[in-house]
Symmetry: C2
Subunit: 142 residues, 2 copies
């Protein structure tokens, strides 16, 4: 999908994970995703001030392996389920493949390597943003 | 912040709202944001299949008026609060100014104009993605 207007997102870091194949990645973080590391660029370290072990975060990624031309999918690749618009699903294939992951910080190394869990993104996935969860007691997983 | 690697996000639509000045926009949707319209591009209409009035959505925007060079802020512009990394706050000023808004669909016009509430984004804000809330009963507001 091409429009004249566009915005340029620069990764603020990358996911380091034992998940290397898309086929190994669970659909949602709660479905067996491992712990992973969000490795933040040196020049973005000041933006992490205030994040501590135990923090509940929303990690926004750019799902760089996704198909941006997909507008409808069978949810969870189940052909028995009707074609559904990608905006009504969590399919990674969508015009702007932004991944939304809720994860908890387990530890922080060298001020820039956030160990988090769960995170269902493959190794090398670019990270665009990190936000705090405003209501950490909620069960909603992002 | 410039890196050699980047990703290009094309708006899938725009916010139409009575909010026109940043100074009028509340900090969070729950703090008095009005209803607004998410107007989706014609070519993305198929991606809306399955969204109906009552759907709980996460709307991802590109906060085009934000300052991308800001790495630390006084939360809520309160100088009595210590400087905090933007990744530990919901400040719109951040390296990739992606807005995360939880809203409910009130009505759908012409198959592409989603009336939603609340939405604390100013008129003309680009929309990058729309996702379903997976646990609509949760109080977490995105």
């Amino acid at each position: 999908m091409i429009t004249e207007e566009f915005y340029t997102a620069h990764p603020i870091g990358f996911v380091r994970s034992s998940l290397v194949d898309l086929s190994d990645a669970p659909r949602q973080g709660s479905e067996g995703a491992p712990a992973a590391v969000v490795e933040v660029r040196d020049d973005c370290i000041p933006a992490l001030d205030g994040i501590v072990p135990g923090s509940e975060l929303i990690v926004l990624t750019w799902l760089h392996l996704a198909d941006r031309g997909t507008l409808r999918v069978h949810p969870r690749d189940d052909l028995d389920r009707p074609l559904t618009g990608v905006f009504a699903t969590r399919s990674p294939d969508r015009p702007n493949p932004i991944g939304l992951h809720r994860a908890r910080v387990l530890a922080i190394e060298e001020g820039r390597r956030l160990h988090v869990a769960p995170l269902e993104a493959v190794d090398g996935t670019p990270v665009l943003d990190i936000k705090p969860v405003l209501h950490p007691d909620a069960v909603w997983r992002g």
